[in-house]
């Protein structure tokens, strides 16, 4: 890593067929895309050099997103516009760069900055539970605490979901908008919140493919979208 490199934060969306592409393949996709579009990417030093590129937060297979982030380092770049134009000149349908900013010195990388994520969630048609979702949201929002058991690979621990769910609202179109704790600390997936609600109503588990989820954006600990950490140029 050189001091002279320009650090860029790239925001992109992932829709349609691209939702089936797993995180590691998305990384490989962008490595190839960057070589195709001729961006002046910087490579790491060492025995097997690789493009300097890091992603904010992996997105599960099956989820769509309007708010994915990666940080890259380049030797030169004309403008935010130009970088977007170059990257979007060779996209597969469903993937699109929506914003590019330059990061100043001392700005933490995207991965370390992740603290919250906002999701829009719909229930797959035909899989609707036997309770009223609006009422359930009211129940959740008015509860003092909602304790669930969170299983990790090593252990099971109790967590209070109320401390980790920052927003839970029903939308006019019947979908649910939520902002959840994210990042390496206590990452909460929408399915976990739904399972807590399903359990409260005693209707079993929410199936792994019952929710249609779009990640809307990712935020830092101050609730600011990650793109706002940098400046357009």
């Amino acid at each position: 890593m050189s001091e002279d490199n320009i650090k860029l934060r790239v925001k992109f969306s992932k829709h349609g067929l691209m939702k089936y592409i797993g995180h590691l393949d998305v990384m490989r996709y962008f490595q190839k895309l960057i070589r195709r579009c001729g961006l002046d990417i910087a490579y790491s030093a060492g025995y097997s050099p690789h493009q300097i590129m890091s992603f904010a937060q992996p997105l599960g297979v099956g989820l769509e997103s309007d708010g994915e982030y990666m940080d890259i380092e380049v030797h030169s770049a004309e403008s935010s516009e130009k970088v977007m134009e170059m990257m979007n000149s060779t996209q597969a349908e469903g993937m699109w760069v929506t914003d590019v900013v330059r990061l100043g010195d001392g700005i933490g990388n995207a991965m370390a900055s992740v603290a919250q994520a906002e999701y829009n969630v719909r229930i797959r048609p035909g899989k609707e539970p036997a309770f009223d979702m609006k009422e359930a949201i009211d129940w959740f929002n008015s509860s003092e605490e909602v304790i669930i058991e969170k299983k990790t690979k090593k252990s099971t621990r109790e967590v209070n979901l109320k401390e980790l769910v920052y927003k839970l609202e029903s939308c006019e179109d019947g979908s649910v908008q939520m902002r959840l704790c994210a990042g390496s600390g206590s990452n909460i997936k929408p399915g976990l919140l739904y399972n807590a609600i399903y359990e409260h109503y005693g209707v079993g588990e929410c199936g792994p493919t019952d929710l249609l989820i779009t990640r809307c954006d990712i935020f830092d600990e101050n609730g600011k979208p990650l793109i706002e950490a940098g400046e357009h140029f």
Partner: protein
């Protein structure tokens, strides 16, 4: 958003949904209402294997250059999706349009190895196309086969409307033009097949009839309609620079077996190893110019963003401009962090020099395809590599810093004795010893040399000098493998040696189909109906089902595999003309038995017959 043939919920419940969605970089999308011919190109194995195949990349690009053709791809659904499609009655579909294969004009299936034959039936069955060509109607696609297994298409002849013998670049325009003409005149499937069988390289099995002698051997093979030619001549490209080659190969999302840009430097091989079918059927050797390859390398790297390029051919060391090409690639792509991979190199000082420039010596291993352990047996198979070559090459490699060596061998070669078998372990040991003799103790840094000997079982193939040869039984293969395993444990450097070998029953079946005839199609159907698919995958291969099918169909496996054919026997594949004559192959068989080697094409012409194509190495100045 583009549609998917498979429901979202199913896609999310199976392994690697990326296999089934298409949408890759450089995939071609067209308006189906604006094309005359829809072609589904199939590799009857899983996506990661099929996407690694150069031939499909070439034809996909070439067909789609025609405005009136839309060529799409289809691969075998993996067993998880296969199950879902059967229970839910979902028809097999093409990746680009996601439309059912049954709606297409052509289904082209590439036949790269015999053990994919049950997957052909899977693809037809899931598509809702009758397994047997004669049972199809005008609504079904024309099913056409191509690739190396078409050099004996007889075991699968019933399943194909036609086979294309040779390299696809030559006759497809004529096939498409003929198809369009007959369709526009309101002609039927039969009308098209009658016209197609007159196109050079095309074989329409239903217009031929085989009769058999009492002992089961072929008695006669005749055309049943006057239009069908008595011999079908393979079609090959003679000017390798004036032929379609992709500038924009497909870029898969998931990691596939060959996940890199493939630059085909030449076709054919000058060597003439007697067990090797590719060495005969791709004769004569035809090279591409440096200029053509530089342009293609640049175009493909630019359009794919791949970080690796590999040179492809049967024997890269024999490409005349190899040094220049590799130096050019290094000069132009090293600072762009593009890896250059050089498979199928003969290990000598020149090869080691360029390999040390393009790869990490510490990680890489060197491969010697010795094929046999003893010099006597190497003479039988005409493998022009000596123990001295291996010792010299490996010594230089060890000095250059390599410490991993792979040795490839075959067990069950014609005339092989147990002494020849044991010689494999002894040669491996000698290579390991060579390391300790070459590299002084202080330079070894505590590293022990690793010699991996890998043995496959010899399978006689059509259009080779060994097409007359008997093949071992599965039990005999196993016995040989045990003899060899045992011999390995007796070697001085046994701790540096590793020995591995193939599935013996799989090899026996491959041998059955390699030299099989039309009578075997019933066996394939029977085995498929018992659930045999993906036979080349160890997790799927079920020998018990195969044995049951063989018993029910009354197939005498020994007749096909263990019998030494008489020199005047008529073979099921004799109607195909590969340029190389049967007389040449017969002479080579006798030379093999006499343990005599034949010089390679650049040393001296042996008059194999391939000169009839009028070009290539046959006309180079020696």
């Amino acid at each position: 958003m583009k549609k998917t043939a498979i429901d979202d919920e199913i896609l999310l419940s199976i392994e690697k949904p990326e296999r089934y969605i298409g949408n890759e970089i450089n995939a071609i999308f067209k308006d189906k209402s604006k094309v005359d011919i829809r072609f589904a190109m199939c590799f009857p194995d899983v996506y990661e294997i099929g996407m690694s195949h150069l031939g499909i990349q070439i034809l996909y690009d070439m067909f789609n250059k025609r405005e009136d053709v839309w060529c799409e791809r289809v691969y075998s659904p993996w067993i998880d999706l296969d199950r879902e499609m059967r229970t839910r009655h979902i028809p097999l579909f093409a990746l680009e349009s996601q439309d059912p294969i049954k709606d297409f004009d052509f289904l082209g299936i590439t036949l790269q190895y015999e053990m994919c034959y049950t997957n052909i039936l899977q693809v037809l069955d899931l598509s809702g196309i009758a397994l047997k060509a004669v049972e199809r109607t005008d609504d079904d696609p024309i099913v056409i086969g191509g690739g190396p297994c078409t050099y004996n298409p007889e075991p699968i002849a019933d399943f194909f409307d036609m086979f294309y013998i040779g390299e696809g670049e030559i006759s497809y325009d004529e096939i498409f033009d003929t198809y369009k003409k007959i369709k526009s005149e309101g002609g039927s499937r039969q009308d098209f097949l009658r016209a197609a069988c007159q196109i050079p390289g095309i074989y329409v099995p239903q217009f031929y009839e085989a009769t058999y002698n009492e002992d089961g051997t072929l008695k006669s093979f005749d055309a049943t309609i006057p239009e069908a030619p008595l011999t079908v001549k393979k079609q090959i490209v003679m000017d390798m620079d004036d032929v379609s080659y992709p500038d924009k190969p497909l870029v898969p999302f998931i990691r596939v077996t060959q996940d890199r840009v493939v630059l085909e430097v030449m076709r054919g091989c000058i060597r003439g190893c007697r067990f090797c079918q590719a060495g005969q059927i791709y004769r004569p050797v035809r090279e591409r110019s440096l200029d053509f390859l530089k342009k293609k390398a640049q175009a493909m790297l630019d359009s794919t963003g791949q970080d690796e390029i590999t040179l492809s051919s049967l024997s890269s060391s024999d490409y005349s401009h190899l040094g220049e090409l590799v130096l050019w690639l290094i000069e132009n792509y090293r600072d762009k962090y593009i890896n250059i991979s050089l498979p199928s190199l003969r290990i000598d000082s020149f090869a080691l020099d360029i390999m040390s420039r393009v790869q990490d010596v510490k990680k890489g291993s060197l491969t010697f395809a010795s094929e046999a352990g003893s010099q006597r047996l190497r003479n039988v198979i005409n493998k022009g590599i000596t123990e001295e070559d291996i010792m010299r090459g490996s010594a230089e490699a060890f000095k250059g810093g390599w410490n991993k060596v792979k040795l490839y061998f075959m067990l069950g070669l014609p005339t092989e004795t147990d002494e020849d078998v044991k010689a494999i372990a002894q040669l491996s040991d000698a290579v390991a010893m060579n390391y300790y003799d070459t590299v002084p103790k202080e330079d070894r840094k505590g590293i022990r040399v690793q010699v991996t000997a890998s043995a496959s079982f010899f399978i006689p193939k059509p259009f080779t000098p060994f097409e007359w040869a008997p093949m071992c039984t599965a039990e005999e293969f196993q016995r040989k493998a045990y003899v060899l395993s045992d011999e390995f444990t007796k070697q001085l450097n046994r701790k540096s040696l590793k020995f591995q070998y193939h599935e013996n029953y799989l090899s026996e079946l491959e041998g059955l189909f390699a030299r099989g005839d039309r009578k075997l199609s019933e066996l394939l159907i029977n085995a498929y109906k018992k659930g045999c698919i993906y036979d080349s995958w160890s997790e799927c291969f079920d020998i018990d089902k195969w044995h049951a099918a063989i018993e029910e169909c009354g197939v005498d496996v020994a007749f096909y595999t263990q019998r030494e054919r008489s020199l005047d026997e008529l073979f099921p594949w004799d109607f195909i003309d590969i340029g190389v004559t049967k007389k040449f192959l017969k002479d080579q068989w006798l030379e093999a038995k006499a343990e005599r080697v034949t010089p390679n094409c650049r040393q001296q012409c042996s008059g194999c017959g391939a000169a009839c194509f009028g070009g290539g190495v046959c006309f180079e100045r020696r």
